[in-house]
Symmetry: C3
Subunit: 135 residues, 3 copies
């Protein structure tokens, strides 16, 4: 299992980690298989989305914030219940395909670590399952 460290600087921030994941896959020598990315936190998550126009991720963050505001009638005393719900909606785990030695992504897809309660120091765990006998 590989671990990468991620440092967020805003409360809500989508951090592009595509390049780091691709490097780990190349280093592993996996030709075919799966890669499972896992966030060991309860107020952060993972998603894939557009890697071209940065206004897409801003629209996503703003619309999420209007649907699930930071301040609402929450009981949890830490003041981050919105972050916990957003994390469950986006999900802590993402399983992607490795083919011919590379991570399979669409042209416009980037992998984003979604910080919902930063700034913090975070971790991401990566497990590769090689299946080099298949095509």
């Amino acid at each position: 299992m590989e671990i990468i460290n991620i440092k967020s600087v805003q409360r809500v921030e989508f951090i592009d980690i595509t390049g780091e994941i691709e490097k780990i896959i190349y280093s592993s020598g996996a030709l075919n298989g799966l890669v499972c990315l896992f966030v060991p936190h309860t107020t952060a998550a993972l998603t894939l989305n557009e890697n071209a126009d940065p206004s897409v991720k801003n629209d996503i963050k703003n619309k999420l914030e209007s649907m699930i505001p930071r301040n609402d009638n929450y009981a949890h005393s830490e003041g981050n219940s919105d972050s916990h719900l957003k994390a469950s909606i986006f999900g802590p785990s993402l399983t992607l395909i490795i083919s011919k030695g590379s991570l399979v992504l669409g042209t416009w897809q980037g992998i984003y670590f979604c910080e919902f309660d930063g700034p913090r120091n975070r971790k991401l765990y990566i497990r590769i399952i090689k299946d080099n006998d298949s095509v």
Copy 2:
């Protein structure tokens, strides 16, 4: 890795792909293992939901539309920020179980390709991890 082509005809459309995925699993000879389905697009996603009463998927589409309308205060110029957010909420990847040569689904579950910005020609990637030694 297998690839299937999907053609949507509406802007928002849930297309049942269960039969096609089952055929690919039978052809693979996998007895036990996992299958990872992956959407290489940023305005489409995957979900499992009811395969019986079609009003369920209409209710889901309508409620999503009322929560995340097409027109809102979005900055992204392509006019499909709602589609990007819906895609992240449902997710681009689904990992399912293969057991005794078949895809494991509940009685009422179908696999849906979720088009959120159609009509378009789309692709779906499928990677099977066989584990035929286990039971």
Copy 3:
């Protein structure tokens, strides 16, 4: 494939199944690999979230209910369209990492079976993919 039975007693209920999943992984003898958890129902789902302060899961359930109320302009005659949508948003499948013989979770993470249309008797399927040659 392992199967566990889950009995919900409320309409919407998050049931901590972390201990049961950990036991199944220990019994399997898997040192490294992945575990795929799968819900064969269309009105239930899985999530990871905080295992410490119970007000977190109450805030999540209450906020979800205010976003997606049980009664709205739904067409589906069974009166549980909200449950179907919540199930698709949280997702039916969760793939997690096994490392050094244990399930990998963050300090504050528990695995929750999310009942959205209880009380019911439910099932959860578990498939472990061992990869004991890797580290």
